[in-house]
Amino acid sequence: MGFNVRFDWTGSIGEVILGATKSDGGTRRVSYRIGGGTTLPFLDKNPSSPAPLIAFEICDNPVLWPPIIRNYCGDQVNNIQEWAKAADTTYGADMIRLYLTSTRQRNFSDIPAVGKAVETALSATSLPLIIEGSNDPKIDSDIFQKCGEVGQGERLLLGTAEASRYRSIAAAALAYNHALIAQSPIDVNLAKQLNILLREIGIQRDHIVIDPYTGTLGYGFEYSYSAMERIRFSALKGDTDLAMPMICSAPDTLTIKEVREADLDGQDDMAVKWEFYTSLAAAVAGAEIVCVRHPKTIGMLKLAFASLKNGTGSMEVR
């Protein structure tokens, strides 16, 4: 019969470069060119993107970090150097996302400490970095300026711009040639609007990664899943204001009831499975960077992604 499947789209996802190697003026051992997809995730015959990439999230002040990770990672969580290094060499992450959680205390003003934290992460690992700055308009300008400056030449991914506060982060991205994360609350139109705002102040499309905001599995994940599918679909249909790669992080995953109330010896497993199902589903919807906090989720996702990217892991049993 010879079936010929046709989808009526001709657009493609724009590309974004993360991390700069020596030849590009940075010190990273690898640089990722994500995006470039021309159809639904995992259907491209010869995908050019190495996605989905797995980013491991760490922070510079673990007080509010999920207890389950503080238990699992131990003293490491108080030491960016060791934690970032372990994420790279032991856990096998593709990227590291450093949350500057110290900036979220009241009246934070120690800007040099922020620069130090970013420097430490850069020296601890040669993987491309995502730096998650402050979320207080009063200090945004100083914090992002500092992060941008310390990471100059490294092509960081800076987070996070929102419709109500994007100027400081955009200024730092522009000044030091970094990419940035643009987050909108689970809505394709709001995502587009923010991208237009960013474009108007001079951020090029190839410097934007969309974060459609991810509700964790069982807590609104379906809205995020559909928002991601819509963004991908609009991009393929030719809307260049939405044709950027996406990042997915579901920060509430490790504090939900299912994880908190799991049997003590099954708690890590519950956390890992919850992150795994959420991240895998996000990748299927179009996320090119998925962020996790439990080290054990990384290995599981890597195997699954290998099977999805290259068709390894044969299903022939009979």
Binding site: M1, G2, F3, V5, F7, L40, F42, L43, G215, L217, G218, Y219, G220, F221, E222, Y223, Y225, S226, E229, R230, F233, D252, T255, I256, K257, E258, R260, A262, G266, D269, M270, V272, K273, W274, F276, Y277, L280, A281, V284, A285, M300, L303, A304, A306, S307, L308, K309, N310, G311, T312, G313, S314, M315, E316, V317, R318
Partner: protein, 444 residues
Amino acid sequence: MALKALDIYKLLPKKNCKECGDPTCLTFAMKLAGGKADVDLCPYLDDTSKTVLGATTRPPIRLVRIGVGERSFAVGEEFVLYRHEKTFYHPPGILFKVSDAHIPDEIVSVTKRVRDESFIRVGADLRFNGIAIENTSNSADTFAKSVETVEKMADLPLVLISPNADALTAALAHCGTYRPLIHAATNKNFKEMCALAKQHGCPLVIKARHLDELGQLAKDCTAEGVQDLVMDLSPASLRDFISLSTEIRQLAITRTAPDLGYPVYFDATAGGIQDAGIAIGILKYASVIVTNPLLPSSAKAALTLRQNVYTDPQKPIQMNPGLYRIGTPGKDAPVLMTVNFSLTFFTLEGYLESTRIPCFMLIVDTEGLSVLTAVASGKLNEILVRDSLIKFGVESEVSHRNLIIPGYAAPLSGRIEEATGWKVLVGPRDAAEIGEFLNEEWKK
């Protein structure tokens, strides 16, 4: 080309006989146009009209029921590639696989688990759907005995997996009247398999390597008189499954390949990571998913993903309005008002529980709208808050008159104070900050 209801109506007998179950031919025509009814329900249609209508009005993916009774489930009758285009209607059945080479105790314990285990979330009872019994022993007797063991314990939908018609015949002697799904007919054995499926009135899995072979096999089986088919795509990898399953869904819903308009079967046990297989199966259009028995963590995550993806995106999920308790709140416990959008409810509930401060949640009926949209649309207003305080008897539960409202409802604070006589405290916009808020503002 899909026909419009009026075009369909012209072909109907216009007798309004009600024999199809609809009050008039016009309402029947409207159902046909929406793919919600089968032309065969009309006893007076001539063959030509039937052929014309059948090809365009039948649901693009056939509805197939597996099992009988309370636990039976129906799959198929899907219309879209993306859930946001409409919704996904029939969640996949997930069945635990046992081998007839296992000791009976093991088969018994898996069957018990599927029969009894359930997990309640957002007011729904989530369960696995049945047992797939595989004839790895190669013995017809052993296979039949295992099926009998399961059958004695529970009225669960079954999949009978064997390449051997004799083994299936022996098994069907025990369970043939309960509509088990037979796995599988291939281009070599389809005549025998169809005879069995027809004899017992059971649905049948067809299995082939390529889409055109599957289409041909579907044609051959329907010619043998078996209409209730399910397709095993024999994927070489997870990637292959996504690609085949997406192609089939697209070909079926656009009615490009009516011979592929059947639900999809997926065995997640093969390949690298079973959890990945289950997730991909749920997301990418599988209707019957077979897996090894799952650990509690995978079980919860898989059932939750299925619930999420098959939630109708056209309707916000709602909680029943009312007064909910966190811990055992006393007369001086805080009262927090919010909307009945379930996502808002569960998020806030989670954070409140982790504060370990006993309190009341007053959930008001905004028809499932979130705080932001309910304030914007006027659904959340001072009258609703006043009526809810009265209706749910909040005044007799606490000795104080302080109401905490969501940060996004701040514009209403004055009006709520006037209408209710309660003092209003404006809480944080983000539920994550509720612990800090209660500790600093409430304890003062």
